[in-house]
Symmetry: C2
Subunit: 412 residues, 2 copies
């Protein structure tokens, strides 16, 4: 393990010397090679699919794992999209000349080695590779065992595609997929500059509890939408439907709807009717106050902390914006929350006091996404406050250093 | 512990609602109260001094611990300096309008609760309090047992000074000073948003190994100065003297001098003579190659990794800029390094390839300091790459959130 990681670290020093043009050339070659090797990659993917079926893995998971010509072409095209994004490396973020006579430049630089630990979806290995090469970072990839043949094939093709330009160890796959390897990997502070876990809550919590390597926590989204007393109810209903129903499996979908008590008797029956007539329908869970107004399943305290990732929503009645904010700060995973209202004082209070990465006024939480924010790419949604918050694009996987010029300057 | 931390977290919600004027008023009151209560504070400090002497603590440490009227007035004045700095909270860092029609603002916000764990120097409790209040952060302070009476007195005075404006629990002192309390504190992710350890390498390593709370590593400085073959030797000598001798106890002093082999025979005797004639003199340790040129103590491999914080320097001969960069990246704590040369190609290579927070050309590493960088204040020097690198001022103890406005906007 140490020798693999050290090779990756040394290879990054080579990558650091490449121009943006040469880093782009790597990405162009990778995209082309993925398309040229479709047959090989799909054969290897087929092995994973067969193993998954033999192991009785759910059809949803098998679908996540499966590549076909169209999916693979999309993955290859997305590498070109990353290639065409802005080059952030070397950017002078600030320049200043303090009284001591020095010239100080704050310039944007790569982290060095970024390690991604992720679960089944095989596109992640290509995505992370493209984003890291574009930013002159090397990557260490550890995928799930379900996708090991696919990941090996993808990494082999990508490494071959760049080996004439740069040391291919800038893409390093950890082939052992067991937990013990993860345990070892997350102590390797001397080789890995940043760890990005992508996958289930269980995986992310495990990293948070055990990592000695600096990491950015991603993904968990227990998002809440608050319908304020001055909301346009028709708008509130539309946004609720979009935020809950469009794609409930993702982290920016809402899990809780909290409704001001002054409008609950009007709004909740409409919400229930709308959610019942959708296909698939959305199950409402409510506490006793909600159940006085509409007929629904009971919500436990636990429900309000739960990210269902399903066609289920917890509903609660709150008494004004202060109690709405209190509810959110207590239950939220600090991802995305929305307020629907025409009252700008309530909006400002909500924006100031709710402690989450992305706060929406009269809009769906579903917009928390690198693409929707115009970043062109996304490495994950950060739910920590350190370094990057919310959608992370290329810029968020860079750091900076100060370069300082003097003329024999000494401190007085 | 949980109840203390929870009170601090809740008090921060109040602080968040204060205007910059009211936060400044808190700082003004604190500064005045520190001056008004000099007698009380010095009496309490006297207890710590007496305990320290009774426990046989070194005179250097006793001096660090000791307050007098002048030191306390300086500490109180520095609170006013922080008060007069720019207000970063609420600053719109960026604003953009992607194609989906939303308006997205990235605004600067406090972390929430910042916990500082620090050792003997009692000015730290006032410094951290001032910096956090200015940025609308609450602080949890845990000082060393040697300064407990002083810290209690300072915190009591500061809390009393602000209690008419805001809930004084925004300044929370952990009175228990044992290791078990630290162990507990560094798991309290639900209350503490950011941990800043300030003190010995041992303390910082302990935090890095054990903390579940996001932290910024500070302080360790194994800094190197590289005398390139095209250096002006007189300039090199001056900078070496400043970087090593002016204040060897601090993290931005150099511990290693590496000299290009083409100039070693000229430069090393001059260096030796200069270092020997300083008061106090500087001890040179060199490997075999160095010892061929000058008479000095032998340097072990270990020496080149050592932060002496003393009038000692390790010297090594290197063969060109590549091997200088390799030496630094291997031995450095990623704090500050310098190159002395007239060759701009060498400078650019050094700036690109050395992986440390602050890189100097023809200047002393001693400038790595919030004050020298014009930040007006310093919370520490970060040696990590996540969030903040190098000197951290007010801005570096803030984070951001996105506030997004739509008009019933839903994702397509």
């Amino acid at each position: 393990m140490d020798s693999l990681l050290n090779s990756c670290k040394l290879a990054q020093k080579e990558l650091l010397k490449l121009s943006n043009e040469n880093r782009n050339k790597c990405l162009e070659n990778i995209s082309k090679a993925l398309k040229d090797n479709i047959k090989f990659i799909l054969e290897e993917n087929e092995k994973d699919i067969n193993n998954a079926k033999a192991n009785g893995i759910s059809s949803v998971m098998v679908d996540r794992l499966k590549l076909d010509e169209k999916r693979l072409n999309n993955i290859a095209d997305s590498v070109i999209d990353v290639m065409n994004l802005k080059d952030y490396i070397g950017e002078v973020i600030e320049e200043f000349n303090p009284e001591n006579g020095l010239n100080i430049k704050k310039i944007r630089v790569p982290f060095g080695v970024i390690c991604a630990i992720f679960e089944s979806r095989p596109n992640v290995s290509v995505d992370i590779t493209a984003l890291t090469i574009k930013t002159a970072n090397a990557c260490v990839l550890k995928g799930g065992k379900e996708a090991i043949n696919t990941n090996k094939a993808l990494v082999k093709v990508m490494r071959n595609a760049i080996c004439d330009i740069v040391n291919p160890d800038i893409i390093t796959l950890i082939e052992s997929t067991d937990r013990k390897t993860t345990d070892e990997l997350i102590t390797k502070k001397e080789y890995i500059d940043l760890l990005i876990p992508r996958g289930s809550k269980r995986l992310i919590n495990y990293i948070v509890e055990n990592s000695k390597v600096p990491y950015i926590e991603t993904g968990a989204g227990n998002c809440t939408l608050y319908v304020h007393e001055d909301a346009k109810l028709h708008m509130a209903l539309n946004v609720c439907i979009n935020a809950k129903h469009q794609r409930p499996s993702v982290c920016n979908a809402i899990e809780n709807i909290i409704v001001d008590k002054k409008i609950a008797a009007n709004f909740l029956p409409e919400l229930k009717q709308a959610f019942e007539t959708l296909t698939p329908s959305v199950e409402i869970r409510g506490d006793k106050e909600v159940q006085k107004i509409i007929d629904c399943k009971p919500a436990t305290d636990e429900d309000y902390y739960t990210e269902y990732n399903d066609y289920i929503v917890s509903v609660k009645i709150v008494d004004g914006v202060d109690s709405a904010i209190e509810f959110i700060n207590e239950h939220s995973t600090k991802h995305s929350e929305a307020i629907i209202t025409e009252d700008m004082d309530a909006v400002n209070k909500f924006f100031t006091e709710v402690d989450s990465a992305c706060l929406y006024h009269n809009a769906s939480t579903r917009f928390t996404d690198g693409g929707e924010f115009g970043f062109g790419a996304e490495i994950g949604i950060s739910t920590t406050k350190l370094h990057a918050r919310g959608p992370m694009g290329l810029r968020e996987i860079t750091t900076y250093k100060y370069i300082i010029s003097g003329n024999g300057s000494v401190r007085k």
